[in-house]
Symmetry: C2
Subunit: 265 residues, 2 copies
Amino acid sequence: MTISIQEIVDSIIEPVGSLKNTVDKLLIGDPKKQVTGVIVAFVASQYVIQQAINLQANLIITHEGIFYHHHSEKREYMKNNSVYKDKRDLIIRGELSIFRCHDYIHQYHPDGMMAGLLMALDWEKYDVEHKPVSCIVQTPNMTVTEIAKHIKSKLSLPFVRIVGNASLSCTRIGLLVGFRGGAENAIPLFEDEGVDLIIAGEGAEWETPEYVKDSVIQGKPKAMLFIGHAASEEPGMHYLAKRISTTYPNIPVHYIKEKNLFEVI
Amino acid sequence: MTISIQEIVDSIIEPVGSLKNTVDKLLIGDPKKQVTGVIVAFVASQYVIQQAINLQANLIITHEGIFYHHHSEKREYMKNNSVYKDKRDLIIRGELSIFRCHDYIHQYHPDGMMAGLLMALDWEKYDVEHKPVSCIVQTPNMTVTEIAKHIKSKLSLPFVRIVGNASLSCTRIGLLVGFRGGAENAIPLFEDEGVDLIIAGEGAEWETPEYVKDSVIQGKPKAMLFIGHAASEEPGMHYLAKRISTTYPNIPVHYIKEKNLFEVI
């Protein structure tokens, strides 16, 4: 039985239905080709592409874009850039197809990226309320430091960034994946949802973190953790890989987790 | 001799001339009031406002907005937020005026925020080429780790984040303050300007850092440091404070540097 790239793509889209406004599409490749194997990763990096070729898998499912931008894959200043060219050449030489799965998985019910992170943190067992771009987790009492250590351990992270009260005892946590830690998504959770702590992938530093700093100075203890964009979304892509593997048990499906992007000095 | 708030504001605007499209304005306060003292800071935080009141200075010059957003100071979801309300009440009770100085100082020649950072790093002595949103610094040979340690020491930082080759020996560095570490500003510097290392305040993690990661895997060693948005721009506001103090020697001018926003766990 042969399975086409389009068929795999359709199965990813299926729970949501076709979206009109989306960054998700086959960024490169031929949808009619037979799938030899599937690679799922947070980002179709040079390393992930090399792994796809080594593993003879001709379809990569990536959450973020190939060329370092959310919207555009071919920007003018990239034209003569050797990193861009070498990466693109390798994709073409490897006869790879790359499907971006960003908006679809976020629109699963619940958000597949959130579901993946909750599983990775072993937090599905807690009382979880899913909201459009966040979820609220009701945990047993833990300090922010204890929660930070739990996250580092579960996600194998060298560090997380913290602002606010590290010793604050928390039971209600707002969780936001990716670049959703900005003011508009995160700040309302503190008072509308009564969370003590917000955990996000990343967000502009002068938005929610400055709010948390002010809140603490005003005598309203709060805290925020930035755990890293990739760290917050890799588990969701791992979850997607398992889902594809279950749907297509005869196709080799590999989830690739890369080394942590940042270290601290 | 009495100096009005408007007069100080005019002196800050003067090197650039009045801008039409700008976030810079007197966000709150009365421009006709006599200045009792000036506070200059990266952000008009709760702490900075308290300090202004303690020091009996009724004008705050801030680089970022008061309420956690670049463009808008009064967003709907803030309406009933207690941190917003308590901060706003304190500003009003303290009879403070707050002028946002973001775009003007960036348009000084050279960019005042960049000039401040170069001074703080003791790098003005190197060959520096100022470009519209970045500058290129030609330094003696140093490894990325040595540069990171130099920055931490000069700016009193607990950590910086690094992606790429820590042991890479650098002579040409691209420097970007604030949230200018994104793909569009930063990536072209690598090949168009031949920099080995980019140092930025912050930027989206899946843009330039992912480029640097790919470049390294392709055998083109490069590195990037995110030193923190506030860390990269506080020296520029310190520089502005000195400038105001020189222009108005009879007015008390205080630059306030806050504790580092983030720690790592």
